[in-house]
Assembly symmetry: C2
Homo-oligomer: 224 residues x 2
């Protein structure tokens, strides 16, 4: 599909120094994605990241206040990119049902794999979104953090999908909640399918598109 480089202006309050502005800044984010994927967020530390990129802890701390902010940066990037993809893919689609199907497909299949060796590993990024994204807002400090508007990209994505829902069925009363439920459920069912399959109806073994089918099914039943 697209081969041009996409970049977004992420809310300045997330970082101390813009990681996009320097080579080492970009390395920090790219390698953080690789390491968080490999270790899981709990075992990921700035020390390990610094060693991984042959730099120092102090340097990483000049870009991000702590690892929570770095994860927040990564997820902001994802949310922005996902909203961009939704826009892009819906551009010429007028059939309202198709528009919703494309959204469900994007949410359940994640970002398309990229080839460039400088951009983020999309496979890892999708995995991080699935397993770690709850951890950026399910924290004691959520109200404080929210004041900096760092969840705006998530809210925007939610609002965009909600508007497509509302356009499909104007009388439906809960477009935003349904939208956030779609986003969250897409992630959770993918996780459950892989690790706790008893919590799903995913057929075992062969490759299937179970999460897409489940979500599309319940979305169109809900909006029938």
């Amino acid at each position: 599909m697209m081969d041009f480089q996409v970049s977004f202006k992420v809310n300045e309050k997330i970082y101390l120094r813009d990681p996009e502005s320097t080579e080492i800044g970009k390395q920090i984010v790219k390698n953080a994605i690789d390491l968080i994927y490999e270790l899981g967020f709990e075992h990921f530390t700035f020390k390990k990241l610094a060693i991984h990129i042959s730099s120092t802890e102090a340097t990483v701390y000049r870009y991000f206040e702590n690892k929570h902010r770095l994860l927040l940066y990564i997820l902001n990037w994802y949310w922005c990119y996902m909203e961009f993809l939704v826009d892009f893919k819906l551009q010429n689609i007028t059939v309202k049902k198709d528009r919703l199907q494309i959204i469900v497909s994007l949410l359940t299949h994640g970002l398309p794999e990229s080839t460039g060796q400088f951009d983020y590993n999309k496979k890892y990024l999708n995995h991080i979104v699935i397993t770690e994204s709850n951890k950026v807002y399910m924290v004691k400090e959520v109200a404080e953090i929210n004041k900096d508007e760092v969840f705006k990209p998530y809210k925007d994505l939610c609002a965009k999908i909600a508007s497509v829902i509302a356009d499909y069925k104007p009388s439906y009363k809960f477009p935003r909640s349904l939208s956030s439920t779609l986003i969250e459920t897409a992630q959770h069912q993918q996780f459950f399918k892989s690790y706790l399959p008893k919590l799903t109806d995913s057929p075992t073994g062969k490759e299937n598109d179970f999460v897409y089918r489940f979500i599309a099914d319940f979305l169109f039943r809900t909006l029938a």
Copy 2:
């Protein structure tokens, strides 16, 4: 409602020494709930808990391998209790729609407040379930941990609700996924309603039963 003491045998692999077997063990769990509520799981430590109960870190470590296992214990207790409540409340209900409504009500309203000063603070416990429960399985070690069957109570609760769904509409293809989605969505929408209301359609201000209404609505539309 009930005033008798409820206790469950939680999977033995979760703890090193059964906290129900001693006075200090009970204090550990009860006060852990209070402290995790107050501090959030990330800021909760065994050291702080030990000081809180005028004991020592070493004593707490004799009961639980680490704080993750203690959280797992608390959530196991919740899942067992919730399944008990579902059974109890559905006992004499034969109308299938009523059965589902009662389940949604239980999931969205949480455990009923208790009066006894020795049992767990249900308000805090509900809050922990909402904000921390993802953290017990959304970890790198999930496959390892799952081998000990410590998520069985969650799977059992999910299966029980799935069976009520299947009984309501036998032709529905995804009863388990819908069940886990109900459980997770009930928690997430409660969280969003409180902290990130833009992700919901909850009316601001006045007390309302928004989460119940949203979930009941989409459940019965899905199963229509």
